[in-house]
Symmetry: C2
Subunit: 109 residues, 2 copies
DNA sequence: ATAACTACTACGTCAGACGTACTACGTTGA
DNA sequence: TCAACGTAGTACGTCTGACGTAGTAGTTAT
């Protein structure tokens, strides 16, 4: 299991990634993260929903009510143009970050 | 300039890396980080010294007084065996972390 | 009716990073 | 001689993201 502080600052990016192709909602996003990471990372509900709130306040995503199909009605989220731009910036930042950290890491060890 | 929250959790590792070969002290460590990162990252004094304190409390480094050669007497830090082990673990963790994050990152964009 | 599943919200805590400010010692040079 | 500069820190408070615990609430299967 990976320490969550490491991920800090990139949960928003992970969420945006999952919204790139189509809107989604909390439960699905959390399951997608779990699946994509093959169980290595599980986002906590509180972390997820506070991230949604932050992303929406910043204009990176928009929420809308979904059709009720099962369980409690969902809130769907859709990425905005601004959100796509932000995602691209974070991808760039990640490359620089990786570059930096790996100057201090012994990769062969 | 890279956002510092990204680095969160890895400043300790960066510091340990710089102590692997020989002991060092605050000012030198901060300059080494700046040089190694080619200016991309500058650790703040408060961040650095609180990291030293944390690392020492955890038994990853040991401090000892240095010979006064210039300016205020320095406190030197030396990595311990436990610290070397911790460093290796963090290197491992980094690989897993990178692996995870990059499933959500578009590297070509 | 009730348990199970889905979909949240509220509230409080913690740690790492940082901003600002200050202290303190020694050398150099005007 | 004394101010400026470089070195080496300490003190204190703030912010934010992640998280723990707990509770609410609608839908469906039994």
């Amino acid at each position: 299991m990976i320490g969550s502080d490491v991920i800090r600052g990139y949960t928003d990016t992970m969420i945006l990634f999952l919204l790139l192709d189509e809107p989604s909602y909390g439960y699905e996003v959390s399951k997608s993260i779990e699946n994509l990471s093959e169980g290595a990372y599980r986002i906590k509900e509180t972390t997820l929903y506070s991230a949604f709130g932050r992303l929406e306040r910043n204009g990176y995503i928009e929420s809308f009510p979904g059709n009720v199909t099962f369980g409690k009605p969902r809130t769907y989220y859709r990425i905005t143009e601004k959100g796509r731009e932000y995602y691209r910036e974070k991808c760039d930042e990640w490359k620089r970050t990786k570059n930096l950290v790996e100057r201090f890491i012994n990769l062969e060890a």
